[in-house]
């Protein structure tokens, strides 16, 4: 398929009904069929039949098409302008200018490999479309010499969809001999659509809107949050027989711990585990019941600089008002990146409070302050490395030292560490559950991860086994949950998942095991 086909060819550009990467046994002979939506319904689904941007925004005539193209080109100009796009302009320009089209990125990309090497999923395919659009902007001669592409409504609709076939995991960047950041290029394409055209998948846009309206992306209001914390304390007492107080809004604490608010609804064991660990280790910490203070989520990191900065600022302000020493980010990968790395560019001087990951802190507590019995975790365990924690922040060893200490049967996936594959839910794909998008995630973007997990547990698969994937990231856990449900991994292979803190709490001598895997 040629790049020019992206703007000209009618019909789907990739057929996901066949040719996907084969999975290891016992799933080798399963054929995954993807259900498709009809184009007549008004969604832009002619990229590959999957709909990520679940808005009916296809233009209805020539006038609307011209207007779409005009607005898109205005956005493209702003993308390359310092004043409009100062946040990531330099690495974007370097990544656009320096690609040698060697295709090392393609063989590193789990989406490309999982799809069965379909051309449109190459990291450099998407980047090359943007590159040629930029060349066009610079003039016809430049475009002819350096690569040209036709700009029309079809290209724009497809490009918006293609931007959500990438997990922003940066594995391509890891393998690129020049460090070209195709993940950043994808993220900038998403930004162009969101900040100029107001187009983004409903799930990530509405979660952000909920965060501003109600206080958290999961829709938990501050009063409901306080009730949930009391419920968790009661639940802890029922499961462990011990009264553990979870401090909330305690001014002057050393640490403000911020979880992904989804964990308060769907995985309270993780919150409970942190409470147990910190109580036993005597850590001076608090949660916050202020809006934004109990939700580490910052979906702006995936698609919109304005949302990113607004949310990051509010996280810092919540901590400043509580007069805490630092923010510790709970098990949430993108929150790690947004709060610890990206916020450095955005926070004004009065909000520059220290921000840290929970993982090195957990490692220190396991090493120095907790009594651990590793026989309590006597089952096969492997570690899924969240992209934002390993590749984007370089936190690779502490979680492994913890697992070697608390688990007798820990084994690595291959590859692991900074070379690990994304779970398939990164970059917002984990929370996009409308129309037929979950099929893309379960069958294509998470395919390589499922293959890794099956290979890691190849000697212990079975319905009566217990094989646990540790994922220190809330969205990775959501993706794995959906993935395992889709493939009936627990029933067929005995595969489950949990967070890192839960496994630590499960190994603590002073507490009866309370985590349900």
């Amino acid at each position: 398929m040629k790049l020019s086909d992206f703007a000209r060819k009618e019909g789907k550009l990739a057929d996901l009904e066949s040719g996907l990467m084969e999975l290891p046994e016992p799933y080798g002979k399963i054929s995954d069929r993807i259900s498709h939506l009809k184009e007549a319904e008004g969604y832009a689904s002619d990229l590959d039949g999957i709909v990520a941007v679940d808005l009916k925004w296809r233009p209805k005539g020539e006038e609307e098409e011209k207007e779409l193209v005009s607005r898109f080109l205005k956005g493209l100009e702003k993308l390359l302008d310092w004043e409009a796009n100062w946040t990531f302009l330099y690495p974007l320009k370097l990544s656009l200018d320096y690609c040698t089209r060697c295709k090392s990125c393609s063989n590193a990309c789990h989406v490309y490999l999982g799809s069965g090497k379909k051309e449109i999923y190459r990291p450099t395919f998407r980047a090359e479309v943007l590159r040629r659009l930029v060349n066009r902007m610079k003039g016809n001669l430049r475009a002819k010499f350096s690569g040209d592409i036709e700009v029309n409504a079809r290209l724009i609709l497809r490009l918006a969809e293609l931007a959500y076939r990438c997990n922003l995991c940066r594995r391509c960047t890891q393998f690129c001999p020049l460090g070209i950041d195709n993940g950043l290029i994808t993220r900038e394409i998403r930004k162009l659509f969101s900040q100029e055209l107001g187009v983004a998948p409903r799930a990530i846009y509405e979660s952000t809107e909920k965060q501003f309206r109600l206080g958290s992306s999961a829709g938990i209001k501050p009063e409901a949050f306080r009730n949930i914390v009391r419920f968790i304390e009661e639940e802890l007492y029922e499961r462990t027989g011990k009264r553990i107080r979870i401090p909330v809004d305690e001014k002057g604490s050393e640490i403000l711990l911020i979880h992904n608010s989804g964990d308060f609804l769907s995985r309270i064991e993780n919150v409970m585990a942190f409470a147990v660990i910190f109580e036993e280790a005597g850590v001076d910490y608090t949660l916050s019941s202020e809006a934004f203070g109990y939700d580490a989520v910052n979906y702006g990191a995936w698609f919109d600089d304005v949302q990113l900065s607004r949310i990051a600022l509010r996280h810092a302000e919540a901590a400043v008002r509580l007069e805490v020493g630092k923010i510790v980010v709970g098990e949430c990968g993108h929150a790690h990146k947004a709060m610890i790395a990206l916020a450095d560019r955005i926070l004004p001087e009065d909000c520059r409070i220290p921000r840290e990951s929970c993982i090195p802190l957990l490692e220190e507590l396991v090493r120095k302050r907790l009594n651990i019995d590793s026989s309590r975790n006597d089952f096969a365990v492997t570690l899924h490395d969240p992209c934002n924690i390993v590749r984007n922040l370089g936190i690779v060893e502490p979680q492994r030292r913890i697992l070697r200490r608390i688990c007798g049967q820990f084994r690595e996936m291959e590859p692991s560490g900074v070379y690990n594959y994304c779970c398939g839910g990164g970059g917002g794909l984990a929370v996009m559950n409308s129309l037929n998008f979950p099929e893309f995630r379960n069958k294509v973007s998470a395919r390589m991860k499922f293959s890794q997990i099956l290979k890691a547990f190849r000697d212990s698969l079975g319905p009566n086994s217990r094989n646990i994937v540790v994922a220190p990231c809330s969205n990775c856990r959501s993706t794995l949950r959906d993935l395992f449900e889709h493939y009936k991994a627990k029933e067929i292979c005995g595969i489950g998942y949990c967070g890192l803190a839960e496994l630590v709490a499960n190994s603590m001598v002073e507490y009866a095991p309370f985590v349900e895997f």
Partner: protein, 141 residues
């Protein structure tokens, strides 16, 4: 170079790679092939004394001996390569070895000022623009 450059060229002429490769990439590759192949052919046709005379003439600006076609092609191709190389991505393979010397320190006053100035610029994006507000003001809203 003589073995690998033709392989690269063939690779860049075959689908799907050729759909991504712009014309400027072919130019450099053709120059490398011209430079390496003309050098090998010239070496086969001339003796070492002639090579010495040519080098001496270039270095000391003395009279050049009579050049054969492949020698001239070799010198021209090399000169063009040297001229074009700084404008290509190949330079990055050398420069990347020195990037550790360029340290990014956010505490540096220049960077802090630059970011502060950027935060006070107006947000011009159509979906979030308010002509009265800067990035910092919109973030605090």
């Amino acid at each position: 170079m003589l073995l690998f450059s033709p392989y690269l060229l063939i690779r860049k002429l075959r689908a799907p790679v050729r759909y991504y490769v712009p014309l400027e990439d072919y130019l450099i590759l053709l120059l490398v092939i011209a430079f390496s192949s003309s050098g090998v052919v010239a070496l086969l046709k001339i003796d070492s004394l002639h090579v010495y005379e040519v080098f001496s003439a270039i270095i000391f600006f003395s009279e050049l001996p009579q050049l054969i076609f492949f020698e001239a092609m070799h010198i021209v191709a090399f000169s063009l390569l040297l001229f074009l190389l700084p404008f290509t991505r190949v330079t990055h393979y050398i420069a990347v070895l020195f990037t550790h010397l360029v340290l990014w320190d956010d505490r540096d006053a220049g960077v802090v000022q630059e970011l502060s100035s950027a935060r006070s610029s107006r947000v011009r994006w159509a979906n979030c623009a308010n002509p009265e507000l800067s990035w910092e003001e919109i973030a605090r809203r």
